[in-house]
Amino acid sequence: MLIVLAVFAVLIISDFLRFIRNKEPAKVFVIYTCLMATSLSISLLLAAGRRPSSPAQWIEAVFKMIGVLE
């Protein structure tokens, strides 16, 4: 858990410093934060041992609903 946080902290801080230095537009921050927040929350859940249902399962479910897969 701590390790996950540490790695993410390093990544986010280093990237943010770079963004600020290069004066990137706000949307960069927004998209970046969205992606990182998702990654962080999922990895925290994974680290806690609670694996949320994954996209692979959603896709499989969708295909089953449509009837492509039986």
């Binding site: 990544l11 970046y32 990182m36 996209p55 897969l69």
Partner: protein, 363 residues
């Protein structure tokens, strides 16, 4: 930051490396057992056509990336939505390759290592490559991709004494249906996945060579796959081949007298690395284009982090991974790899007829 250019040789090597990708450890047409070679040939033929479609789209829309084409042909809103789906698809693809890599290393070389470490380190190196620009990835492929056939040759030649050349017989024992099914999955993995190159084709410096490059790389990799199949089955026999988790690796274990197993790791690292780099580049480039961000490097970090997390998250176990890719992947890929590109091709053909968009538009 100037025009980024890759040469036709680099594109050829990138494509070949991409097509080898994780097929270095996973025999893609395994489902057809003894007739896999037939499935590979059929799938390869269709794969060549499919890649031809991508090349045609790129030629009809010179110097436009997939996102540009989508927005132009489907309209702003629909185009953007489809483009976002494509971004997701590239990310998913990259994370699957990450997972293949991680599973392979963890079950073959380092059983005690946590998979996320392996994948994370790999991702860090690839992030460096992608951040250096697609030009550098192209140059890298010139250095590294030639190693793949060399290593394969080393393995194959050292196995020459253990070959049983008739092992692939009998032909069509279970009828043609499984062969066709496998052929379909072989089109989607690996050929259809080259749809990611639609983000790269605009960088080619000699547009007129695009067709040849695509064609040759597809044919070369099909033939290589056939050869690999014959090697594997003649060494392992169909029974063991069916049960093996990582077929080419097991083959390399059979080599008498000495053990060159790490060479397979290197092959995977190169092939998978190229594949993931291209996917990461395509995804971040596409996302930046959609959002109107100039430099794709801003998002590579976030996207590769997400890929790593996704690769751990997406499947529970190695068997889940394999059965899912076998069962769902090809259907899931069809819209991205076949339907949308065909639609784009039709639309481009219709619209470009009067203006006769040629190869000379560039420059």
């Amino acid at each position: 930051m100037g025009k980024v250019r890759i040469s036709s040789i680099q594109l050829f090597l990138l494509l070949s490396g991409f097509l080898f990708g994780s097929t270095v450890i996973l025999a893609p047409a395994k489902g057809a057992k003894n007739d896999a070679w037939l499935a590979i040939l059929i799938g390869g033929a269709c794969g060549v056509l499919l890649m031809g479609v991508y090349a045609a789209i790129a030629l009809l829309n010179p110097s436009k990336t997939l996102v540009d084409i989508l927005e132009e042909k489907l309209g702003k809103v629909a185009g953007t939505i489809v483009a976002i789906l494509y971004v997701w698809y590239f990310i998913h693809l990259a994370s699957l390759v990450f997972r293949d890599f991680g599973e392979f290393i963890c079950s073959v070389t380092f059983p005690e290592m946590p998979m996320v470490v392996v994948i994370g380190l790999f991702a860090a190196v690839l992030l460096y490559a992608v951040n250096s620009g697609i030009e550098v990835v192209g140059r890298l492929s010139e250095l590294l991709v030639p190693l793949i056939p060399v290593i394969m040759l080393i393995i194959s030649l050292s196995l020459f004494t253990v070959h049983d050349f008739t092992a692939f017989l009998p032909i069509l024992e279970n009828g043609i249906t499984p062969v066709l099914k496998t052929a379909l999955s072989f089109i989607t993995f690996p050929f259809g996945e080259t749809v990611a190159f639609l983000m790269l084709f605009p960088h080619l410096n000699q547009k007129e060579k695009l067709k040849n490059v695509v064609l040759i790389s597809a044919i070369v990799s099909t033939l290589m796959q056939v050869l690999i199949f014959f090697r594997d089955i003649s060494v392992l026999g169909s029974g063991l081949m069916d049960r093996a988790t990582f077929i080419p690796h097991l083959t390399s274990l059979i080599i008498p007298e000495f053990n060159i197993e790490p060479l397979v790791d290197i092959n995977l690292l190169i092939g998978g690395g190229i594949k993931i780099s291209v996917c990461l580049y395509a995804a971040s480039r596409a996302l930046c284009q959609i959002a109107g961000i100039n430099d794709y490097r801003n998002l590579t970090g976030a996207i590769s982090t997400f890929c790593v997390v996704l690769s751990i998250w997406v499947h529970e176990s190695v068997l889940d991974l394999f059965s899912w890719t076998e069962k769902v992947w090809s259907y899931y890929s069809l819209p991205f790899q076949v339907f949308v590109p065909l639609l784009l091709l039709l639309l481009s053909l219709k619209k470009s007829k009067p203006s006769n968009a040629g190869t000379a538009n560039e420059k």
